[in-house]
């Protein structure tokens, strides 16, 4: 059991007052692992420490800045009609970069549809992520090239895939670990509960990384749970820990520790990264309908990028030239993504029939032939018209 869950267990918060428990969740004042305060101060934690070089710190900063720039470009591309939809990660950069940089190459990631920062850490080309949002494919990257599975849209389903994959890792005798991303909304799904059960009873080397960004579209976390989410792990028999999801150092340290635990054969860990979805759920959403500006403003003061910049500057780990160069790199990335998306062709019509089955299927073969003949009939009539 972690320090956090022990502390929480010691201090039950007026559970007898039903109205206060229902209205004001315990998660309002989370006890969380923090190594870098919102003001950019380095602080120590008894269980989690981290010692990074200036170069590594700059690397984390660069990852977050470029991810945010890519994300902003994708949002703009949606507004310009180049993408059908975009799910922004704005505000969650630290949770994703911190956890993503804790992974080894041989570890395997099962993301939701918002893990653009993790994809970045895995070396998935950002333009590859945009195919599904443009509507030219349903993902389409090779999951095994970067050990980064396809985005999963139905929430929570991938936690079971991650658990099964981790069971396979253990069977193989490998010391890789698997990480499953999901959110506060998905925590209510049966599949997530089942993945906790399976991973616990088989002692699977998996880390459940829950980004609690406070909102599942329009529903606040207290619509999903009455206890802090990390505490759910306790009932399944493995540790849970809440980390400041806007603190990239803490996210890195806590995820690294959980992954090491998995590698040592000690089973799953639930990490709840306490963060905030600064933007809309997707470009189709309107958060002004359900949440107050003040809430967003309060979280803006906890911005993950700003606090690391403050620290880098104060500690003398980065100079003006670094920030200027990074600005230029960001713009180059934005331009590259923009051009790549605009040049992304629609699939050929016959692509409809590709890959439905690995071993082929007589029904699909028949329909493909019929469709090809139908397509060809237009060519004939065009000829006749001449």
């Amino acid at each position: 059991m972690t320090v956090e869950s022990t502390a929480a267990a010691r201090k039950p918060r007026r559970a007898s007052k039903r109205t206060s428990a229902a209205k004001k969740p315990q998660s309002a004042e989370p006890q969380l692992v923090q190594l870098l305060t919102p003001e950019g101060e380095r602080v120590e934690h008894p269980d989690y420490s981290i010692d990074l070089s200036a170069e590594e710190l700059r690397g984390l900063y660069r990852d977050m800045v470029l991810t945010r720039r890519f994300d902003a470009e994708a949002t703009a591309l949606q507004r310009q009609g180049e993408l059908g939809l975009w799910a922004s990660l704005l505000g969650q950069e630290a949770a994703q970069i911190g956890s993503g940089r804790a992974l080894r190459d041989d570890d395997y990631v099962f993301p939701t549809y918002r893990e653009h920062g993790v994809a970045w850490c895995r070396g998935v080309d950002p333009t590859n992520l945009l195919g599904m949002f443009r509507g030219v494919n349903h993902g389409g990257w090779d999951p095994n090239s970067n050990n980064f599975h396809l985005y999963t849209i139905v929430i929570g389903s991938q936690t079971l895939h991650a658990t099964g994959y981790a069971m396979g890792v253990a069977k193989d005798g490998a010391d890789s670990a698997v990480i499953a991303y999901f959110g506060d909304g998905a925590s209510s799904q049966g599949d997530v509960a089942e993945s906790f059960t399976f991973s616990a009873v088989y002692n699977a080397p998996v880390v459940f990384f829950c980004q609690n960004n406070q909102w599942a579209i329009s529903e606040p976390t207290e619509r999903q749970t009455r206890v802090p989410l990390y505490q759910r792990a306790q009932g399944f028999g493995f540790p849970g820990v809440r980390v400041d999801g806007n603190d990239v150092l803490a996210c890195l340290a806590v995820t690294r520790s959980a992954l090491e635990r998995a590698r040592r054969g000690e089973g799953p860990t639930l990490v709840e990264a306490f963060t905030y979805r600064m933007g809309a759920h997707t470009t189709s959403d309107d958060p002004t309908k359900y949440r107050a500006d003040e809430e967003r403003a309060a979280w803006e003061a906890k911005d993950p990028i700003l606090r690391l910049r403050t620290y880098l500057e104060k500690a003398g780990h980065a100079d003006e030239a670094f920030f200027t160069a990074l600005d230029e790199e960001s713009e180059t990335l934005g331009k590259r993504v923009r051009e790549a998306v605009r040049a992304m062709p629609d699939p050929e019509p016959m692509a409809l029939f590709e890959h439905a089955y690995a071993d082929g299927n007589s029904l699909v073969d028949e329909e493909r032939a019929q469709f090809a003949a139908y397509q060809a009939s237009f060519a004939d009539s065009a000829e006749e018209g001449k």
Partner: protein
């Protein structure tokens, strides 16, 4: 000895044993499949011989069973999962339909999902609720899945081998009331393709199309009709997705009359699909409309009523008479 007489249950057991023995990546997962050997003993003795690491008793959570099987398949394993009864598959329906069926296509062919989902199905065993259903159409309708059902011991043995070797997910419906029916299995003969239909009995006046547990009923109906001088052909489909429409067409063109028989409700059942395809492919060969015999549009009844619900010899012969009288 290559040819042995054995029950469908034994044939499945032997086939699973061979699969485990041949490929170290093959796993068996399910509720009670280990020490107990499954509630129908289909996996009897397999955990003892192959270990708990390969024949895995799972938590009682069907979505979890299929969802983790998907993850294991992504890691390179070939899981064969058992759903204990037909009516228990629905907690896993989301993982099967939304994830298992589509993942290969979503990845543009970059990953394969060689998962076999075994489901004992159908009625006629006097069971309580949720133990007698025939949900094959609910899976056959889903692109990305293959759906098969053997009717005899030889097919049980060989179709299971082929299903395990398939790189696509296969829903393997086992006719539970026929588990103890015996037949000859030639473990060295080279079988035909998994998705081809087989003529179970030659005839010239009418074709009965069936699969799984209804093949036996249709063969009995054909024998009874023979005594009245009617020559009935019986086509054992074996595969419900894809369906061997070429074989159906050939037989329909020969006899001109087709009756499709299945336990599942007639409404939106496989019989509807077969009837539509026959009219598209060989309308002018037909002497009568394609008729269907199957379950009614009501929830599966209590055991003491199931004989009224399930197509039996008399209901099949009644349809044969109606077709011939047309």
């Amino acid at each position: 000895m290559a040819v042995e007489k054995m029950s469908i249950a034994k044939a499945l057991n032997e086939s699973l044993r061979l699969a485990l023995d041949t490929d170290p990546k093959v796993l068996i997962m399910g509720e009670d499949v280990g020490k107990l050997g499954g509630v129908f003993r289909i996996t009897d003795g397999l955990q003892k011989d192959f270990g708990e690491d390969r024949v895995i008793d799972t938590p009682l959570a069907e979505s979890g069973i299929v969802g983790t099987a998907i993850g294991l398949a992504l890691r390179g394993y070939r899981p064969i999962v058992e759903i204990q009864f037909d009516g228990f598959v629905f907690p896993a329906y989301d993982q099967i339909v939304t994830q298992l069926a589509k993942m290969h296509a979503r990845a543009l062919g970059k990953v394969k999902l060689p998962v076999v989902v075994r489901i004992p199905y159908g009625g006629g065993i006097g069971a309580v609720e949720h133990h007698s259903e025939s949900p094959e159409a609910l899976f056959a309708h889903v692109a990305g899945l293959k759906v098969v059902s053997p009717s005899n011991a030889s097919d049980a043995y060989w179709m299971m081998q082929q299903a395990v070797q398939s790189d696509d997910p296969v829903i393997f419906f086992e006719p539970k009331r026929r588990y103890w029916d015996k037949g000859e299995v030639d473990t060295e003969s080279i079988p035909g393709p998994l998705h081809k239909a087989v003529t179970a009995r030659e005839g010239s006046d009418l074709t009965l199309v069936a699969y799984g547990p209804m093949v036996k009923v249709c063969l009995e109906a054909a024998a009874a009709a023979q005594e009245e001088g009617k020559s009935i052909e019986v086509l054992d489909l074996r595969s419900m997705a894809p369906i061997d429409f070429d074989a159906i067409q050939k037989s329909a063109e020969k006899t001109g009359r087709v009756v499709v028989v299945h336990e599942a409700p007639v409404f939106y059942g496989s019989g509807a699909e077969i009837a539509a395809r026959i009219t598209e492919r060989c309308f002018y060969h037909l002497e009568a409309p394609v008729l269907r015999v199957g379950g009614y549009s009501v929830p599966y009844p209590p055991a003491r009523l199931e004989d009224e619900y399930l197509p039996g010899l008399d209901r099949v012969l009644d349809a044969v008479d109606r077709s011939l009288a047309f």
